[in-house]
Amino acid sequence: MANKRSWIPYLLILPSVAFLALLFVVPLVQTIWLAVSENGAPSLANAQRMASDINFTRSVKNTFLLAIAVVPVQIAIALAMGTMVSKVGPGRETILWIWTIPLGISDLAAGLVWLSILQNTGYLNSVLFGLGIIEQRTGWLSYQTPIALFFAIAVAEIWRGTAIVMVIIVSGLNQVPKEFKEAAEIFGAGPRTRFLRITLPLIRPALQSALILRTVLAFEVFAVVYALGGRNFPVLVGEAYTWQNQNQNYGVAAVYAVLIMMISLAATLIYLRVIKVDPERLP
């Protein structure tokens, strides 16, 4: 009996492993080969082409800047939202439901929503102009206003991506036993200490998942940037898209894809190392 059971789990995960191998590993290997070959022979020509492109440095810089600016803000907002909602009794579900609305909107749609607000003839300009605060409708999304463009994209990203972080953090907060906090209160710990010494360490697994997920997504940011900034704000995925779709050079697009994957993997490894989770708390 014991012998029979030992292979059942493997059999059960076999379909998903086969599925992953077919639809993930095979394309992955193909992509890597496409990236490091030219005309069927190994070559670094594609990587050189990528590195010497005028938009390469800018796209790396922009992607990292955006990730650095967006992810901490999202985590902070999500923590604040999660803690706030944990104090709410009736109506909690409704509040959570409203907060997660951006999750249901596609990236591109979110970008277009913000475009309609921020472009020259958009709502924000119309309101400011109508109130007489500005004399002329101004553009914030052009190549001449890189800082405003960066802020616009960051705000749109934060608006769109915070909900998923919040969902993960709320589920983490739900698992924190009340007894711990009560015990701390009895020993005279203030709200700050309770948050830093009890809540934060106990939601570590949730924080870790949220950070990994959000950081990986931040490195893969594209649709919002494309809608708001177009060519003015190159990011890594956008460059991969342009090389593949417009320039029709699959090799360089593949190098970009591999680069994005390596950055994402590195970020994940760093999080796994830095935010250690006790083995017994793993699922």
Partner: protein, 424 residues
């Protein structure tokens, strides 16, 4: 019993996937893609020619699809409609049926031989049948005309006058009023290949880094001071024109049509400006071709014959703004917007200093990278203000490599070359 039922399911599934695929003639097109235009094709242009499945495809996906079908040897597409430059890689791979009989018939029916010759794509047999033609023009809102510099004729502008005009408009309104489609999906690269370079240098590839080109880029920098910075976000100029964001714009006629047709009384449409070497312009030709191995050649031939009849060509012009390839006069009662556009096209073609620049040929799938050379130069010179000569030298090397890689010979207005077109 259970077994019979499941067997029945299996059989019907297999049948469902194999038999009815060939019932319709599949017509894949990279042209007339927007939903309104595709509806016109389905409901008006393709009426009465049988069961046609009109499918639209973005140019890059079109290339991928055709290549996939060719490699697999399993053809579903019977007819393709695409631009001259999109059909040329297919012809290079010998993937198109020769259409000489059709071409002969159309030549007799009034299709200019010069156009039909383009459809040979440099081969001995007819590769595609010219379907529709278009070009790029400039459009201005009428209130902009009051700022035209003294003595300037809007139908025969030169770059100095355009710059002066832009300056006056900016001074009067406080904002730059000229717009170009330099967004991610805009056709700005065609401006450089068909208008800017021919006008300033008389060439496209050979003259890429010449002294004339440097002088041209300096002019463009001067002009760009009066071009709205939002231009790098614009894909189609009809929206910013209609929204009043810009007063003057350059674009493909099909990408200006909606604004102009909606209120033809508010606009003037005129040729692009001339430079020292003349008035560059790029005719755009879309053609119809039958892929080798097409499942329904007879149906496809019927559709080509139908789309090239005078009535359907005129209907195409009035409904979607692409002009006939047949030598026929446009009717008087044409849509007012289309008539305006047609007028500008005629004026461009008739202008004494016109320099025709053909769409790039022979670049195959490197067409995108060819466009990138011009767009990168633009980004570096005009937007980032890098030294012109250095940029042109660096980009010229990229261009030269592209030409040697693809072995593409020169096309008009560059002088003919033996072998790959040189960057001098």
């Amino acid at each position: 019993m259970k077994r019979i039922v499941s067997f029945g399911f299996l059989a019907s599934t297999v049948l469902a996937f194999t038999s009815p695929v060939l019932a319709q003639t599949v017509f894949v097109s990279t042209q007339l893609r927007p939903i309104e235009e595709a509806t016109v094709v389905r409901e008006e242009l393709l009426q009465d020619v049988g069961e046609i499945d009109y499918v639209v495809e973005e140019p890059p996906q079109f290339a991928v699809r055709m290549e996939a079908e060719r490699q697999a040897g399993k053809h579903t597409v019977s007819l393709v409609g695409a631009l001259h430059g999109e059909l040329s890689p297919l012809a290079d791979k010998d993937a198109l049926e020769p259409l000489d009989d059709l071409a002969k018939k159309l030549a007799a029916g009034g299709m200019p031989q010069s156009l039909l010759d383009l459809g040979r794509l440099g081969k001995s047999t007819q590769q595609y049948i010219p379907w529709m033609q278009a070009t790029y023009v400039m459009a201005a809102r009428k209130e902009a005309l009051q700022y035209l510099p003294a003595g300037a004729d809007v139908n025969a502008l030169n770059y100095d006058q355009l710059i002066e005009w832009g300056k006056k408009m900016q001074e009067a309104t406080g904002q730059p009023q000229i717009g170009f489609p330099a967004g991610p999906k805009g056709l700005m690269a065609r401006y450089f290949q068909g208008y800017f370079y021919p006008s300033f240098t008389g060439g496209v590839v050979r003259t890429f880094q010449s002294a004339d080109a440097i002088a041209g880029w300096e002019k463009l920098q001067a002009l760009w001071a009066y071009v709205t910075p939002n231009s790098t976000n614009y894909d189609f100029m009809q929206e910013p024109l209609a929204a009043g964001e810009v007063m003057v714009a350059w674009d493909h006629i099909a990408r200006l049509k909606n604004a102009i047709s909606a209120s033809p009384d508010d606009y003037v449409v005129f040729p692009a400006p001339a430079g020292p070497k003349g008035r560059g312009y790029m005719p755009v030709i879309a053609g119809l071709a039958i892929p080798k191995g097409a499942p329904d050649k007879a149906g496809a031939t019927k559709v080509i014959e139908h789309l090239t009849t005078p009535d359907v060509q005129l209907l195409t012009a009035s409904r979607v703004g692409f002009f006939p390839t047949l030598n026929i006069k446009l009717p008087e009662d044409l849509d007012a917007g289309v008539a305006l556009l047609a007028g500008a096209v005629t004026k461009t073609q008739a202008s004494k200093d016109a320099v025709i620049s053909l769409l790039p040929v022979g670049l195959g799938e490197k067409g995108g990278e060819f466009n990138k050379v011009y767009m990168d130069s633009f980004q570096r010179i005009v937007l980032q203000k890098e030294p012109i000569a250095d940029v042109l030298k660096a980009q010229g090397q990229t261009m030269a490599k592209l030409m040697t890689d693809t072995k593409a010979p020169c096309w008009a207005p560059d002088a003919k070359s033996d072998g790959p077109c040189p960057v001098q």
